[in-house]
Amino acid sequence: MCGATEGGLSLDGIDVKKEAIVQGQVVRDGSPVGNAYVRLLDRTGEFTAEVPTSATGHFRFFAGDGEWTLRTLAPKADPVDKRVIAATGSIAEVVVAI
């Protein structure tokens, strides 16, 4: 089984029905950013998790139902915040432009 977006991270072995997935890609001028860090902040702004982007600029979180904020840090760029809604059984796709 592979439910991942084309070019994104593999979801092999993950029961997507039980997860509230937030994933996406960090880009700069349309090109993937492989050395960025994406932080997941909860509805109160508290840090919940952080991942480095893959070589193709992709990232993924297994969140809970509700509203989250993605904060992206990258060399020579200002932090970028994006709000996202996660729901169990679905995949929220986010493109972050820095």
Binding site: D15, F47, F61, F62, L73
Partner: protein, 282 residues
């Protein structure tokens, strides 16, 4: 301990890249991160294979730790500087582990790999060569390691600091949100534990906040500085980060890391568990 002798800056590391008595060690949750690029001269420790017994759930024993460090070329009188991803979670875990086995001179690179990368400092895929040593470890210093029974006995008696995210503390998530959530253990936290997410101690770039800021964060969360403290998380790495803050940066006496953490406690039969955002009663 103090900030001056337990923490070094990226600049300090850059100035000591060619110092043969300074051993840089990368430890990452993502054990492949080192292979994609690391600080020049750094060796790698894999926390899943090098630092864990491969049969029982426990650490490698003294002899195995000695063989590990001897083989990697670390000497007893070397200055070991640890760094890693995830804001130094696993580097702090390794720091605590080196202290557990009595290494004298060990430090953390403030901000770890993230700070290094955000500064656009150089990474290489060249593997260093270090001559084998004859490393001698001490017996485990259990004054910094808590086990499950003393953690249960600490409910309502000592400071218990749950350093996971608020959603994990409350039982809304079972694991950090970059990991799948399906887990065997129950959700929630240990009664009376204060929730002070490890991340409150760090700036966005992964460096530690000032001593004054740190003291205020834990005081506000209800940490009683006159009491002994046990920190825990899910598997003991994030709580190593908080152990480092309380013990090494703030110099608090009698701080232990409960490395069994929630994956052990949340699977125990018969222990009390609290759900929700309140600490709960003893």
């Amino acid at each position: 301990m103090t900030r001056e002798n337990s923490l070094v800056s990226a600049q300090w590391v850059e100035e000591h890249l060619d110092d043969p008595k300074v051993v840089l060690v990368e430890v990452d949750e993502d054990t492949t991160a080192y292979d994609k690029g690391h600080i020049r001269g750094a060796i790698k420790l894999d926390w899943t294979t090098d630092l864990q017994d491969q049969v029982r759930r426990d650490f490698v024993n003294k002899q195995q730790f000695e063989a590990l460090l001897s083989g990697r070329g670390v000497a007893n009188d070397d200055t070991v500087v640890l760094y890693g991803g995830n804001n130094n979670w696993f580097a702090a875990y390794a720091y605590w582990y080196f202290k557990l086995y009595g290494h004298q001179d060990v430090k953390l690179l403030d901000g770890g790999r993230k700070k290094w990368e955000l500064d656009s400092r150089e990474l290489t895929d060249e593997l260093p060569t270090r001559a084998e040593t004859s490393y001698t470890a001490q017996e485990q210093d259990t004054s910094i390691r808590a086990f499950r029974d003393e953690t249960v006995e600490a409910i309502g008696v000592k400071n218990l600091v749950d350093v996971r995210s608020p959603d994990e503390y409350a039982g809304r998530l079972l694991a950090p949100a970059h990991l799948p959530q399906e887990q065997a253990q129950r959700a929630g936290h240990i009664p009376t534990a204060a929730n002070v997410p490890w991340s409150k101690a760090a700036n966005d770039d992964g460096t530690f906040k000032s001593d004054e800021e740190l003291k205020e964060i834990y005081t506000e969360a209800g940490v009683d500085w006159s009491k002994d403290t046990i920190a825990y998380c899910r598997i003991g790495e994030r709580s190593s980060h908080t152990w480092f803050v309380l013990k090494e940066l703030l110099g608090q006496e009698n701080v232990k890391n409960y490395d069994g953490s929630w994956t052990e406690y949340g699977s125990l039969v018969g222990v009390p568990v609290v759900l929700g955002d309140e600490a709960g009663e003893a």
